[in-house]
Amino acid sequence: MGYLRRLPRFEYLAPRSVVAVCDALAEYPGEARLLAGGTDLILQMRRREVAPRYIIGLKGLSELAFIRPQENGGVTIGAMTTVRTIESSPLIRERYGLLCRTAAEMGSPEIRQSATIGGNLAGALPCADFPPALITLGAQVKLKSQQGERLLPLEEFFLGPEQTVVGPSDLVTEIQLPAPSPLSDGAYVKFHDRHAMDMTTTGVSAFVTLDQERRRFCDVKIALASSAPTPLRAKNAEAALRGQAFTEKAVEKAAALACQEAQPRSSWRASRDLRLELIKSLTKRAIRQAWEKAKAPPDGGRP
């Protein structure tokens, strides 16, 4: 790749509202690409992996940059909300520590300032960090087009590497998170080469809910990044822990099951065998950390 390479040419549109974005997408079916933070798309365009005729810039769409508490105790996050905003939102920190911590560990401050949650999901890179964390939190995604709106579980959103249910005339508008239950928390643990700046080689998110006595796993959700063509729920591993007391043996068993469920591939970044090793140890670490966090009082035990 020539390092002086400029971007391919395109025509630039900056619709002022969500409705106007949907109209623009409908007007140029298959020829327009949405540009959010650009931290994935600009790179892909420079490499000539994509060369859209029209770029629809979303940066000016303040309509989609919000974090809103819902009456049911949940929170809705607009697609154009940046990673930086999520990381520094008191509401997210209080209700979804897992999401806050995941955001804080992504890229550099510069990347987090531009990168959006909508772009992280819609880009559907297998190494993206938000999908596993959001899947374990039970997130739903809302899509909008001229035809109308649909809401679906994030788990059903991904179809393959860089492939999602988002059609050429769809816009991701928001991500909805259910109210957090008491005695629950999670951890996302990832492995990468250069701190924060390299793509995730393997990542595991675990979200656990404890029983009243804080002895057993009442509910467990585990999702993996870079371990299959799409972000993957490790459902057998989850089932093995549900109702169990926290013991090293139970954690070991769940990690072994997660390895069986994963289908990692070999790439220049890591071999399949290395990824399987990573999935095993990261799953254990994620479960242990999630357990400790869920058990601790929400104020962190500080007076």
Binding site: R9, Y12, A14, G37, T39, I42, A196
Partner: protein, 166 residues
């Protein structure tokens, strides 16, 4: 195709009215249209931080930012940081005095990132500084002097702030 778009930029307090193609990055426009070559071009992939400038006081990689999208925003490059040629910003002085500059290629990006960071966190720990500049590569200094320079500047700026407050 419409090739040229009118764009108004505010860079280092100066207004510029430009006609530019939409596929030009902010980095290209700063360097090639405005001759502000302080922001450097290197990886063009968000990895090295040499192109970092501040938009509305926040750091971004200008190699990944379309110039048309900086319309009406306040852009600060290293050229706009010092009050005058004689009075350097405390970060600039600390970098120069503590050996945090060798070839200087990484310096503009690092100083701007540090400036934005110290505004949010005027009393940082060493570890917080490391995390704040994680997006910057330096091939010369070995980073220690850079961390030290930022710490020293933070102390100086915090001291000044306290005096002004009195």
């Amino acid at each position: 195709m419409k090739h040229l778009l009118p764009v108004s930029l505010r860079v280092n307090g100066e207004p510029y009215d430009l006609l530019i193609p939409p596929w030009r990055t902010l980095l290209e426009v700063l360097r090639e249209n405005l001759s502000l070559t302080g922001a450097k071009r290197s990886c063009q992939e968000g990895q090295c931080g040499t192109c970092t400038v501040l938009i509305d006081r926040k750091p971004i990689n200008s190699c990944l930012y379309l110039a048309v999208e900086a319309q009406d925003k306040e852009i600060l490059t290293i050229e706009g940081l010092a009050r005058s040629a004689e009075v350097l910003h405390p970060l600039q002085r600390a970098f120069a005095e503590r050996g945090a500059i060798q070839c200087g290629f990484c310096t503009p990006g690092l100083i701007l990132a540090a400036k934005a960071f110290l505004e949010e966190n005027p009393n940082p720990s060493e570890d917080e500084i490391r995390r704040a500049v994680v997006g910057h590569l330096c091939r010369c200094t070995g980073y220690f002097q850079i961390i030290e320079a930022i710490l020293a500047a933070a102390r100086e700026m915090a001291g000044k702030g306290a005096q002004v407050g009195h």
